[in-house]
């Protein structure tokens, strides 16, 4: 039997590292964050320095008193200081000539809202850090409040759908695009339904931080906050990609490329109907949502080079 040259399989990207997490960690069943948190060190290695803040990842990553659920080196910053704390760690290692990969790992509340200033500052200074946002489109750890990556129309506990409200009135902030526009050495979007794509991007991230700032935005549905079934989270990821709600792209030194182009995108309604935070949307609002998705995708599409 002859083996032809095949696309690498997902496990080809795995380092031969032990899973640094214990079983039975305190994340919700079906949580995409857990899979992301386990996946990142699988590809980047267990010798990364992880920098985080209060967020859904914190209960596990922080540890309690002297115990933790993982064996990574972890720095717990504040929501206002993740990118800057990582800067300090990375600069010190540069000063003493030590090769270490500093990885920020936060939710969207940090990177898009209260921690956006230091994130933008670190990108502008071209700090040698990898910043990974798991975007669950709101403050899921504190009870499903809206953040600036919450999409238009989503019902959250601070933008509840009601008799006169249709959920959040404004569209989401496009953080990965902003980071690419700031001239990050590498900026990319990723999600768990396309794990090989995610792994390739993490591998590239490890090379690119030698040049400068790296940003990866991971679409991470929240089963509790979005009100989806616990076994549906990966399906929601896949549908987000197939409807072009969450296109997978990368920008290497400002050169944009779609890494998974969807040939015939499905209507966004098929994505929305999986998620109960959108269940109040009427036909006109769904149409508006579709237009918003189309507009956002058109921007990315226009930026991408055709090969």
């Amino acid at each position: 039997m002859t083996k032809q040259k095949k696309k690498p399989k997902i496990y080809d990207y795995f380092k031969e590292t032990e899973d640094p997490y214990a079983g039975g960690v305190a994340w919700c069943p079906g949580c995409t964050l857990e899979l992301t948190a386990r996946f990142v060190p699988k590809v980047l290695g267990n010798d990364i320095i992880l920098v985080g803040c209060p967020c859904c990842a914190a209960p596990v990553l922080y540890g309690q008193n002297l115990g933790t659920w993982h064996r990574l080196s972890y720095f717990s910053s504040l929501m206002t200081g993740v990118a800057s704390s990582a800067t300090g760690i990375s600069r010190y290692y540069r000063k003493i000539g030590r090769d270490a990969t500093v990885v920020c790992f936060t939710g969207d509340g940090c990177s898009a809202d209260v921690g956006f200033q230091p994130l933008s500052g670190a990108a502008e200074r071209n700090e040698r850090i990898i910043y990974i946002t798991y975007d669950n489109e709101g403050y899921m750890n504190t009870g499903y409040q809206r953040s600036s990556t919450t999409p238009m129309g989503a019902s959250t506990s601070t933008t509840p759908a009601g008799t006169i409200s249709h959920g959040k009135p404004t569209p989401a902030k496009n953080v990965p695009l902003l980071m690419a526009m700031q001239g990050a050495a590498y900026a990319a979007t990723a999600t768990l339904s396309h794990l090989d794509d995610f792994a390739r991007k993490l591998t590239k991230a490890r090379q690119k931080i030698k040049e400068g700032f790296v940003y990866i935005h991971v679409f991470s549905p929240c089963v509790m906050g979005w009100r989806i079934e616990a076994d549906m989270s990966i399906q929601v990821c896949r549908m987000a990609v197939r409807t072009n709600y969450f296109p997978l792209w990368e920008a290497e030194n400002g050169r944009f490329r779609l890494t998974h182009e969807v040939s015939s995108p499905k209507p966004v309604q098929e994505y929305l109907r999986l998620i109960r935070k959108f269940s109040h949307l009427k036909e006109t609002e769904i149409n508006e949502f579709q237009q918003m998705v189309d507009r956002k995708y058109a921007v990315i599409k226009r930026l991408c080079v055709t090969e």
Partner: protein, 398 residues
């Protein structure tokens, strides 16, 4: 004195602070400008630009990031330095507390300035009063040379294995920050020698790539209490440690400042004026004048504000008949200056004596020799058993 005679330069307080930092060879420093300390950031950047120091300079986009950068670098194992003032200190407040909780041995200089609320681009000590419970060691200095020398001592204190706490070195913004005086810059080899002791102690715990060691755990119940207790114990140790370091510094460089407090004509004094920062220099002149007039007055320059130099103060104030305290800040919710309020807390140990609170020098107003002489007269009168006014806002009575 063993150290070589250093080169003398006429430089501002801000430039002096930058020289002090450079001599300590920080690994990582941050700069973000704010009046009246911007020159510290500029000077450090100039040193770096001319290859005079190997520090990683991070030109951050705000003070909050300035503190987070040095906290991160410090917990990775580095020596760190930053500087700020007033609103800058307010903007980094969350990170200031966080760094102290980490026991990160950061040294930060603060050119003291009025705090926000009423817009004031002017001197005062309200900024440091607002962070007195943030878990930082706070030292207040009087003049230029003391800025430089105290920064060097601050690293010995912060990085001491038994302390491991961040230290703020405070000097009067607008006055000391901009005033140029003759400063002796110690030789690098002597500063290296003075700081070398730190390398002989056990290594503090820092982040290590590949080592399962977190920085900043979620303290739960008793775990939290234990960590807080240790933090407080370390803070208490810092008081006596500063005296030791100050003595050792004096033996090497021929200059020392009294450690926690400087006592000026205290031994035979009946009454005492307590002040901090640049005004202590003015107060010494007023004390001398009043001594000539036969009033047995002395001065205590409060150098250490956190931890509060309780033991030293009790020893110095025991048996004194009345105390006047000059504050360049206000104590909201207490009808007196913050330092006067803290002095009052010594009553169980020094006995009930009149403690007169003077609020002066807010928003750059001068605390003049006549102001202090007037205070001394009133304190003396109170010591003689006459009635007195507990709190005096001097600028409002002129």
């Amino acid at each position: 004195m063993i150290a070589q005679k250093g080169k003398k330069m006429v430089i501002t307080g801000n430039a002096t602070a930058a020289y002090g930092a450079m001599l300590c060879r920080p690994d990582v420093a941050t700069s973000y400008p704010i009046t009246p300390m911007s020159e510290v950031a500029e000077q450090l950047s100039a040193f770096r630009a001319n290859g005079l120091m190997e520090t990683e300079m991070v030109e951050v986009e705000g003070e909050n990031s300035a503190m987070n950068v040095v906290a991160g670098a410090s917990m990775a194992g580095g020596r760190t330095f930053t500087a700020t003032s007033s609103w800058g200190l307010s903007f980094m407040y969350d990170a200031v507390q966080h760094a102290a909780g980490f026991r990160a041995p950061i040294v930060m200089v603060i050119a003291n300035r009025e705090a926000p609320g009423i817009l004031a681009v002017s001197g005062g000590q309200q900024d440091i009063i607002s962070v007195r419970d943030a878990g930082w060691i706070q030292i207040i200095v009087e003049e230029g040379q003391e800025i430089l020398d105290t920064i060097i001592m601050a690293y010995r204190l912060a990085e001491d294995y038994d302390i491991q706490l961040p230290v703020m070195v405070n000097y009067d913004g607008f006055y000391l920050s901009y005033m140029a005086t003759a400063i002796e810059i110690p030789e690098q080899t002597d500063v290296d020698h003075f700081l070398a002791t730190l390398k002989e102690q056990p290594k503090r715990q820092v982040l290590e790539p590949g080592v399962a060691l977190g920085c900043g755990t979620h303290g739960i119940e008793k775990g939290f209490v234990e960590l807080r207790y240790r933090q407080c114990v370390a803070m208490e140790r810092a008081a006596a440690k500063l005296d030791e370091i100050d003595r050792e510094f004096g033996e090497l460089f021929g200059r020392s400042y009294g450690g926690q407090i400087e006592e000026y004509r205290i031994d035979d004094a009946d009454i005492v004026v307590v002040a901090s920062g640049g005004v202590a220099g003015t107060a010494k002149v007023a004390v001398d004048t009043k001594r000539e007039q036969g009033i047995k007055v002395g001065l205590i320059k409060l150098r250490l504000f956190r931890p509060f130099p309780r033991q030293r103060l009790v020893e110095a104030l025991n048996g004194k008949k009345a105390i006047g305290v000059i504050d360049r800040s206000v104590g909201f919710g207490w009808d007196c200056g913050p330092m006067a309020m803290e002095l009052r807390a010594l009553t169980p140990e020094i006995g009930i004596v009149p403690i007169l609170s003077y609020i002066d020098g807010l928003a750059n107003l001068d605390i003049t020799i006549p102001h202090i002489e007037r205070a001394i007269d009133e304190v003396q009168s109170a010591a003689l058993g006459k009635s007195y006014q507990e709190v005096t806002w001097i600028p409002l009575e002129e």
